[in-house]
């Protein structure tokens, strides 16, 4: 006799259940196995009444599904729609694979004596600070010196493509959210979910959907994880634009479009740039995890450190990621500061 027999008896579902209290099908729970090995049906006290879970109810009624049937149902459900989903998603995301492949190829093909000065030049153009240029030179010099140059460039290539995609998709989504409360209400739970879902969880359905050899697999995972801040801060930035200035723009007859491009976006730029900074930092965090699904770069070395307990490799590549994070953070923040200076109130 199982604890919850009475439920099915009361509801008159006994016939639907089949044999009472006896498990005739193939799936056997651990508890049942234990009960079988101990030999006799133990009389349970009220203190040990089990939670009316799927498994407990299954014990009382064999037709009731077990919890593992729920998870396997989810899996087979996903597998059933997988092919259709793939037909739609595959071509849509193909450009991401190309972009990642191209970026990786370029970053690895251009020789170091061109690439490092180029990166220094970029940081000069963006920040106009000699100090930052020196920092960039020292960090890349160090990473090259310890033979991590190629890995660093791979990581940088991935971040470049993914952060750029985040901005390209995130800013328009943020603008749409700022213009309509309904869009904002629907987007916020999605953003919350993307932000709190453990990063590993993104990877599981993506592995089913795409082949592990395709770069878009980790590209999508990184973008989904890192797009949140730029969307949120674009929305916030545009909503925070001074109402009086918007009113003045209306009073002088600006069209909606002119208002967006000449007033709202320029005035929201400090917030948007703060979002871009956060997005870059988050894609850097995700690029390490993405190495589990064949993303190249410094993450691979971290993974090697864990897998084969190579402490030195793990620590050094971890340091490399920190250096990369510092450079990216300082350079984007310097750009942000330059914007702020030009329109501080």
């Amino acid at each position: 006799m199982a604890t919850y027999d009475f439920i099915f008896n009361r509801l008159g579902l006994r016939n639907w259940c089949g044999e009472s209290g006896d498990t005739g099908d193939g799936m056997t729970s651990m508890a049942q196995l234990l009960a079988e090995t101990s030999g006799d049906d133990v009389e349970m006290s009220a203190w040990e009444t089990p939670f009316p879970s799927m498994d407990a109810l299954h014990e009382a009624c064999p037709s009731f599904p077990q919890s593992r049937e729920l998870t396997s149902g989810l899996e087979s459900g996903f597998l059933a729609i997988k092919d259709t989903l793939k037909v739609v998603v595959d071509p849509l995301t193909q450009p991401l694979s190309w972009a990642l492949n191209e970026a990786l190829w370029v970053m690895q093909t251009v020789p170091w004596f061109i690439m490092i000065p180029l990166l220094m030049l970029v940081s000069w153009v963006v920040s106009r600070q000699m100090k930052l240029v020196a920092l960039v030179a020292i960090c890349f010099g160090f990473l090259g010196f310890v033979d991590y140059y190629i890995y660093t460039m791979q990581t940088l290539a991935i971040i470049f493509v993914c952060a750029l995609s985040c901005v390209v998709f995130g800013v328009p989504i943020g603008i749409a959210m700022s213009r309509s409360d309904r869009v904002q209400r629907t987007m916020i739970p999605i953003l919350d979910m993307l932000q709190t879902l453990p990063p590993f969880v993104y990877l599981i359905p993506l592995i089913f959907l795409f082949s592990v050899t395709e770069p878009k697999l980790y590209g999508i995972a990184i973008i989904l994880y890192a797009i949140v801040p730029v969307v949120r801060l674009t929305d916030l930035g545009i909503r925070l634009v001074d109402k009086d200035v918007i009113e003045a723009a209306d009073a002088f007859g600006m069209s909606k479009r002119q208002k967006l491009f000449n007033v709202q976006i320029p005035l929201a730029l400090p917030n948007i740039m703060a979002g871009v900074n956060q997005t870059i930092m988050m894609s850097l965090a995700m690029v390490v995890i993405a190495s589990l699904v064949s993303a190249p770069g410094l993450g691979v070395l971290v993974l090697r450190g864990i897998r084969s307990l190579e402490l030195g490799v793990g620590l050094l590549s971890g340091l490399g990621i920190v250096l990369l994070a510092i450079i990216l953070d300082r350079v984007t923040k310097a750009a942000l500061a330059r914007i702020n200076v030009s329109q501080s109130n």
Partner: protein
Amino acid sequence: MKNKDIKISIRNLYKIFGSDPKRALQYVKDGMGKIELLEEHKHVLGLKDINVEVPTGKTTVIMGLSGSGKSTLIRHLNRLIEPTAGEVEVAGDNILEYNEKDLRDLRQNKMSMVFQKFALLPHRTVLQNAGLAPSIEGQSERNYSEEARKWLDRVGLQGQADQYPHQLSGGMQQRVGIARALTSNSDIMLMDEAFSALDPLIRTDMQDLLNELQAELQKTIVFITHDLDEALKLADHLVILNDGSVIQQGEPQHILLNPADPYIEDFVSDINRARVLRVRSVMTSLPETQLERSGEIDHEDTLESVIALSEGDTALSYHVMKDGKPVGVLDMRKLVRALVPSEQSKEPESALFGG
């Protein structure tokens, strides 16, 4: 009723804020008051049956305390706020029938606005801010810069064109706001508490500047203020608003001497009447017999200047001249009587101040 002298006319304008203003409008038309409407139907009565005619080329000042609906009213003139009921006619056109394109045209070319908090674009230079109107129409900075510089110079901002707004003081920022309105070359200027955020000395400067500009340009100005001194200094036509209704409108001197109700009496009692009242408002017409007069004064002189001239002697009386011809006489005793508000002596406790 096509009158060439009337630029903007507002007729039977109502504005009710809330979820169902049309239904609430019926209650108001049936005589429900502001407080009742708020308590029973959760609707706010913003404006109630406003009828105002704004004369062409003159300064019309709409005055009221905060919450009187004056800022709401001025925003109806360029439809930043849509009315619940009523008509707004600008140069003979009912602007409530305008579509989006007409409305943008109205705002770009026929009306400009100056704001209390300046509302300049912080990421643009002073020159680019002044040239906002032409830039909205798609003109390049090179095209509009001459016009914009002209008006920046006119409002006293020579050599500041390449600064950013945050580098300027409040008074200078509002000068940019005025230059921005003038550069649009519109006939009508709406000024929403334009000088209220400035400190008193700068405010006086700005009022003088506006009077000077107005003498030169004769724009149709609608000026909002809560300050009676400012209203009397600028107004050709004064509209007093309280709790969303017009309680008196007309020539400022006339309102000052003949307040329509205790609320306005209270308002005007604190005014330096000698500085505001003019000879023409208190003079008597020319008598039959020509008596000996102590001197000649102009009909636009303030009473303050006449007192200074007479050195306080109440026995004197003067010829009042207009364009070199005598138009009346002013007895000093009558002048002194005009300085005392009519109700002050009778009812000192008439404080019905709404606050």
